[in-house]
Amino acid sequence: MNKKDLGLLALIVVVGFVVYLRNPAFLGPQNLANTANLIGLFGLFAIGQGFVIITGGIELSAGSMIALLGVLFVDLVGAKGVPWPIAFAIVMVLGLALGLAHGLLITKLKMQPFVVTLCGLLIYRGVARGYTADATAGFPFGSEYPGLDFFVARIGGIPVSVYVLAVVAVIAWFTLHRSVFGRYLFAIGKNEEAARFSGIRTDVVVTSAYVICAGLTALAAIFFAMYTRSVQPSSQGNFYELYAIAAAVLGGFSLRGGEGSIVGVILGTILLQELQNLVNLLGIPSSLNFAVMGGVILIGVLVDQQWGVFRARRRIAEAARSSEEFSPKPGE
């Protein structure tokens, strides 16, 4: 954990404490479990977003992907009677294929990530709505899917999604911060040309980042579908890509690439969910939800940057003071 992460953690604790003082239900087991579940769901694809942002890219289609893949999953299992493990596999493969398509469009055909994934955002949302003719995809009344209950189960009072996030986060941490592949991701984000001139297959690495992102988004899509039990294709996952991007930015990622950490993006996700929860628990009209989130992100990033500028100036000023005796004579 670096200083930035510690600052974020402190903010999470302080905000949580204030909310608790105003409404003790914040730390009630039901609220905690529910919030933890949401953190698990949002954290999964926020980590995926992190992999893409590290390379200097962006994935705007995550929310639409969650709607499309969610509709498909529910429809396959509920209406088409496909056994759920097969439906699960189909949805995952489809998700990975979408990521591969994004990656290839960006690396091989040199399209800008923003454009490719913006088109994905529109296309997947439209296909999801067209697929059900805007109807809600749901499971038949009274049907039981014992295996699927796993996705919404709790083990020891903690939602399964939290365990899954923990496992994914550990793997992602080693991948990003310790593996050869992770080093390549950072190198490409810092300077793609220099990475290429060092013999790195930058196209393969960048494409992989989009595949990883889409895979984690597909997994999250299934969790979301099981969480809501029915999928309304016009609203499921709306703006979720922005939650993920916001979590990454709060967690210290640079949208220029080359900077960020798994711990950071998870803390960012936690803070965002805490703020949502705060709006509910403190009786703030839920219509103000986005305004609160936007305000906190703006202030958070602003304070962080200005603090960095202040420290850099102070360092230079100190260096200038301490080395006065070495300064060249006037006129030189």
């Binding site: 080093r183 990475a195 290429r196 001139f197």
Partner: protein
Amino acid sequence: MLDSRDQEAPARAFLKLSAVRKTYPGVVALAGFDMLVGPGEVIGLVGENGAGKSTLMKILGGVTVPDSGTIEIDGAPYAGLSVGGSMKAGIAFVHQELNLFDNLDVAANVYIGREPRRGGVLNLVDEKQMRADVLPYLKRLGANFAPNTPVAKLSLAQQQMVEIAKALSVNARLVILDEPTSSLPLAETDKLLEVIAGLKAEGIAVIFISHRLHEIERASDRVLVLRDGVLVGELKKAEIDHDRMVKLMIGRDLKVAYAAPKLDKGEVVLAARGIRTAAYPTRDVGLELHAGEILGLAGLVGSGRTELARVLFGVDPLYAGTVTLNGEPVTLRNASDAVARGIFLVPEDRKGEGILLDLPISENISLPDLDAYARSGLVSPALERVQAERSRSELGIKAPTVMTRTGSLSGGNQQKVVLAKWLAMRPKVLIFDEPTRGIDVGAKAEIYRLMRGLADAGVAVLMISSDMEEVIGVSDRIAVMHEGRISGLLGRAEFSEENVLRLAVGKPLAKAG
């Protein structure tokens, strides 16, 4: 040395420079330079890279102010010019890289920033007026295109005419053409020389800077030769001659001690045949690189040397031709293919392509061969540090620790980091593109020593360089490129700046003797 007294004074000088001096930290760019330019005079200005030409241009353009000396324009003295002052005095520039907006038409480019207006509430641009105003300037230049032609549709020479029309429209008295022909095909060059003659006829002075000496020969009334910030020669119209100019431009002592090769060159390691690059898709280029030799690749900027290097390193596509390594044909689809076969490039753009400035030294060195520093897919920083320490002492990289951010090192040490990452991997072929650009003399000598050490260890070294001293001092053989082709190969016995320059501008070698 000559001074202004030796210059044939024109009847009434438009521009007069006296004892103009400019120094940069550690470099004397201009050491007391004198120049007279009369109205309607065409002055050719020649000199090698770093001779002081660009400093002189910056002073005339008002970008930099001289340390001492005076500038007189039409008899009015200036200590230094400002950009606006230079324009007002009637000095106009046409740069090698044109400053045109290719999304606008000819008239809009000529009148950019001072468009005639129609007045009224909206104060719109008066397009009609603007086009009518431009027409006479285009006529004077003998241009065959209309004022409303989009600049993107014009050829390079026509675009230069637009720049010159712009100069005419501000009533320029002196037009400075900086390497105007370096990117022009021959036919268009002729057209440009006609335009210069036209300017002269109107009494407008021209300073013509070029590496293409026979064009200088054709266009100039007088030639000034600069070397190391000093005017070393002035040639009157009758004296202008290619060989004289070359002799004046060169002829320095070599300052760095160069080591001779230990061994005779070995087998051919890398052979490129019939290579066609994007820059010269109709020209074949080929070369053979032997083990244990340093082959210098000389030529003018834009002759296709860097493009060849990029193809051999796999970062640019090979449009035609074959590359063989130790006799086996190789396919180089990307840098990764080249690196896997031991073909490495130390690129010209060190900060953009050579290293990652934000990473520590150790991580830059390990980057191309990261799997070798990893245990079951996880990078071991300890192994990285061991190699980095070894590289640091072998190459003499001066840095507080190997964890120091590479961007904080000096140019020479950064270049050693680039070299270190390849040396850690057993190179077969090492390509250097301008290896010592922006590097101080001390570090230069160390880089040369390392290059020679590599060659002595059997590595085949290809060195692209525009530094004449370096090419002649370091190379075992020199290949010279001219407009996308190898125009000649020189063995040690034939090494001379004159021979390299002749081949670089596409002239045959002088007769032996």
